[in-house]
């Protein structure tokens, strides 16, 4: 039985294409990552980069959401939210870091390339950087680290914008991005926020040393400073809080689906353990022991519910005519609640799976600890949960000063 059948979601929402894409990406995960990782571990050059190139370029995931008229596959309707959910579950099952890179790219593409709101100027300018055929499109999102405080400011002047920010911490790929998408506090504009698009080789960008981190080895991140970087007028996309929130809602969906993928992988590892390990020395198969079975049930429950919630969010984003636009406060809050819930559930579930496997869970060889580290690092991309709660309370209780 595949995960698709085992952990339910409302299948009728997924198209045939979504299901078949998920099947292909499942094979990508197995052949390009899982089959090689015992030997290559988390090696970037030998394992992760080639796998990522294959996924982005050969399989063509970086062109999926891009408009046909700009060289993409034209899957740029809101229903793509369901497609990226199906895809990221499988990608993250192979590698969570690669799934984060893809989630970042798709979040940006959702902001400039959605049918009905295609930003022609941006799409024309960016086609090569974010949906080309030669190099992986690595989009580095520079977002607020603490709720609603952008890390950068952009000043409007003659002929465009000037972006200024010292030592920002991008969400991912600060060290090797083809494009930076920087959420800025706008000065000299009616809107408070906007996302400024800056090519990776723009003048004025300075990258710090590569960061050593808990997980997500596919992501080469560094602090990045923007020293008076000039950005043409049309490269300020997603102007206004609602537009920025729309991009964040898509990002949260991507992170949520990636987390579900990590849960699938953890479940599989635990299942293998539970099927074969003997405890109590009397031929008791691990999974048949009530005390451990109760913990294993928790892992399955968290996985199942995380998946359902994620698909619910995908459905909400896929039907703006029914649920409203993705940047609307209610939808943004829903997205934030779902992703935090899924992420915490995953932290709990993988923690508990490690309990079941004791030293095997802690050993690199079994890979469970890798999902544990990756899922935690992915969670931290969301910023502190305590601050996200302020948005939730603001919305549900109409608090005005939070």
């Amino acid at each position: 039985m595949s995960d698709h059948d085992l952990f339910p979601y409302l299948y009728e929402w997924a198209s045939d294409m979504d299901v078949s894409l998920a099947g292909n990406l499942r094979r990508w995960a197995e052949n390009e990552v899982m089959a090689k990782r015992l030997e290559l571990k988390e090696d970037y050059e030998q394992l992760l980069e080639p796998a990522m190139r294959k996924l982005f370029l050969e399989i063509g995931m970086q062109r999926l959401l891009w408009p046909e008229e700009h060289g993409g596959d034209g899957h740029n309707t809101p229903a793509a939210s369901l497609t990226i959910t199906a895809a990221l579950e499988q990608v993250a099952r192979g590698d969570v870091g690669i799934a984060l890179l893809l989630s970042s790219l798709w979040a940006l593409q959702s902001a400039v390339a959605m049918e009905g709101a295609v930003n022609g100027e941006a799409c024309a300018a960016l086609a090569e950087a974010v949906a080309g055929r030669d190099e992986p499109a690595l989009v580095s999102l520079v977002l607020p680290l603490f709720r609603d405080e952008p890390q950068a400011a952009a000043k409007h002047g003659k002929g465009g914008w000037t972006v200024e920010a010292a030592s920002t911490r991008p969400l991912a790929c600060g060290g090797n991005a083809s494009l930076y998408a920087v959420l800025c506090a706008l000065q000299g504009s009616e809107e408070e926020w906007g996302v400024l698009l800056i090519p990776g080789d723009a003048k004025g960008i300075e990258r710090g040393d590569a960061l050593k981190r808990t997980g997500l080895a596919a992501d080469i991140n560094t602090p990045v400073s923007f020293g008076k970087v000039k950005v043409p007028e049309g490269m300020c996309v997603a102007e206004g809080r609602e537009a920025c929130r729309a991009m964040l809602s898509w990002l949260y969906l991507g992170i949520s689906a990636s987390t579900v993928g990590a849960l699938f992988a953890s479940y599989e590892i635990l299942k293998e353990w539970g099927d074969s390990r003997v405890i109590k020395g009397r031929g008791h198969i691990f999974k048949e022991n009530p005390l451990t079975a109760a913990v294993m049930a928790e892992v399955a429950k968290e996985t199942s519910l995380a998946r359902m919630l994620t698909w619910d969010l995908a459905r909400i984003l896929s039907e703006p005519a029914v649920y409203g636009p993705p940047g609307q406060e209610g939808n943004h809050v829903t997205a934030a609640m779902v992703v935090h819930q899924v992420s915490q559930a995953a932290e709990n579930a993988i923690n508990r799976a490690m309990e079941m496997m004791a030293s095997a869970g802690y050993a690199r060889e079994w890979n469970l600890e890798r999902y544990w580290r990756d899922v935690k690092a992915l969670q931290l991309c969301l910023g502190p949960y305590e601050l996200a709660k302020m948005d939730v309370s603001r919305y549900f209780y109409r608090a005005s000063t939070l």
Binding site: L145, F146, R213, K280, G281, L291, A363, K376, L387, M390
Partner: protein, 422 residues
């Protein structure tokens, strides 16, 4: 300014050694470990950076000698009435810098508990093994080899499984034990061990406590092979690997005490393991407090330090609360170890069960709290530079080792609720 020293210790029963020893180790941590520890992960196999810090602590400062009797070059802690509380402080201070080093250090004591602790000092074996540790300034490592490929939890699950799953055998052949078996994961294995304490059976499959044997095996005995260290999620300073014993012959006297008593006093080893684990958790958590305090004081949100945001402060309070309670509970358990006249023998089922309860409580709190601390730090929480993620990775195994949480739960339920079949 408040510091980690403001977390409460029960001052009325600390030994006079507590502060002087604690300060020596803190100084060592500040100079020999903390400046280097961010590079320890890459050093997991070679220990080029880690080894000099061990040499200073264990060899030069002499901490590897503390349990042995004074006349054999030790510090006589095993015969004092403050072995528990003093060790607690030592472990806590080392773990503040690096809990992997703390376990490697603590486990030097661990098998020695069998022979160095009153009232069951085995003088002959102390004399035999003291020179390994007491007559050198080089670090020397001991290991307590319990876990086997088929499972570690069952080997510690004495009440129910009664040693019947132990597959490492000891057969008496004249005046020698002949040992055969495969152990894995002991702290201080992976090639570094000098002396093993090996959990064996003299009658495979038997549930008779008399067949449980604890036998010392010097690592250079013919037939002992140590495999390379495993790569793990954390705890780079602790090396763990496979050990194979193939027709290993040691003198008959290397069995710690003999039928029945080996198992009895082995439970005291478990008691010390639980006490040590709480200290490792407490020490690491105190450093998490230090680093987190720096972070939330420096980082601002809406024009104020992050710690001044009420919702953030709520989580900070929870973390401080748990560190405070872990420390008090840990010291209390150490004190119970020091006063068998009041709390009963250290090897009693009661002491073991209570130790398991405190240990798994402390571990659960720590895993959750450090996860929350990282979350408050936003994406910086995953950075090596902030140290918190290191403690998070390291502490997870404290929760998993010594049979894991479920064994703790089984033993606690068994003792308090008098369950009979768990």
């Amino acid at each position: 300014m408040r510091t980690i020293d403001d977390f409460t210790r029960p001052l009325e029963y600390l030994s006079p050694l507590d502060d002087p020893l604690g300060m020596v180790v803190r100084e060592w941590a500040e100079t020999c470990v903390i400046p280097y520890r961010r590079r320890f992960d890459e050093d997991w196999k070679e220990h080029e950076l880690i080894e000099p810090a061990f040499k200073r602590l264990m060899g030069e400062l002499g901490m590897q000698r503390v349990l042995f009797p004074e006349d054999l070059g030790g510090w006589g802690l095993g015969r004092s009435n403050y072995a528990g509380t003093s060790s607690y402080r030592l472990f806590e201070e080392v773990a503040r810098a690096d809990s992997g080093m703390a376990v490697a250090f603590g486990v030097i004591y661990w098998p020695m508990v069998m022979i160095c602790m009153e009232p069951h000092v085995n003088r002959e074996l102390c004399e035999e093994f003291a020179p390994i540790f007491c007559s050198t300034t080089e670090p020397r490592f001991a290991a307590n080899a319990m876990t086997e490929p088929q499972g570690g939890a069952d080997i510690e699950n004495m009440e129910i499984v009664k040693g019947s799953t132990i597959q490492t055998t000891a057969v008496l052949d004249g005046d020698e034990w002949v040992i055969n078996g495969h152990k894995l994961w002991p702290t201080n294995s992976g090639g570094v061990c000098n002396l093993f304490g090996v959990v064996c059976t003299t009658n495979p499959g038997s549930e008779d406590p008399n067949d449980f044997a604890f036998i010392f095996v010097p690592a250079d005995t013919p037939g002992v092979t140590q495999g390379p260290p495993y790569e793990k999620a954390g705890m780079a300073a602790d090396k763990n690997g496979d050990i194979w014993f193939e027709n290993v012959r040691v003198p008959k006297s290397y069995r710690a005490h003999g039928p029945g008593l080996d198992l009895l006093y082995f439970k005291e080893v478990i008691t010390f393991g639980n006490m040590g684990s709480i200290a490792f958790v407490g020490g690491s958590m105190m450093n998490v407090y230090e680093r987190l305090k720096d972070f939330v004081s420096e980082e601002t949100y809406r024009g104020k330090p992050l710690k001044e945001h009420d919702a953030v402060a709520g989580v900070l309070a929870d973390i401080a609360r748990d560190i405070e309670i872990i420390r008090i509970v840990g010291y209390q358990y150490a004190r119970m170890i020091d006063r068998p006249d009041l709390y009963g023998p250290r090897w009693s089922d009661e002491m073991v069960a209570k130790g398991r309860a405190y240990k798994y409580w402390a571990c659960d709190r720590a895993v959750e709290d450090v996860g929350k601390a990282m979350n408050l730090m936003s994406t910086y929480g995953a950075d090596r530079d902030w140290d918190v993620e290191k403690h998070w990775r390291d502490l997870k195994i404290v929760q998993l080792w010594m049979g894991g949480k479920q064994l703790c739960q089984a033993e606690v339920a068994r003792w308090f609720f008098e369950c009979e079949t768990l």
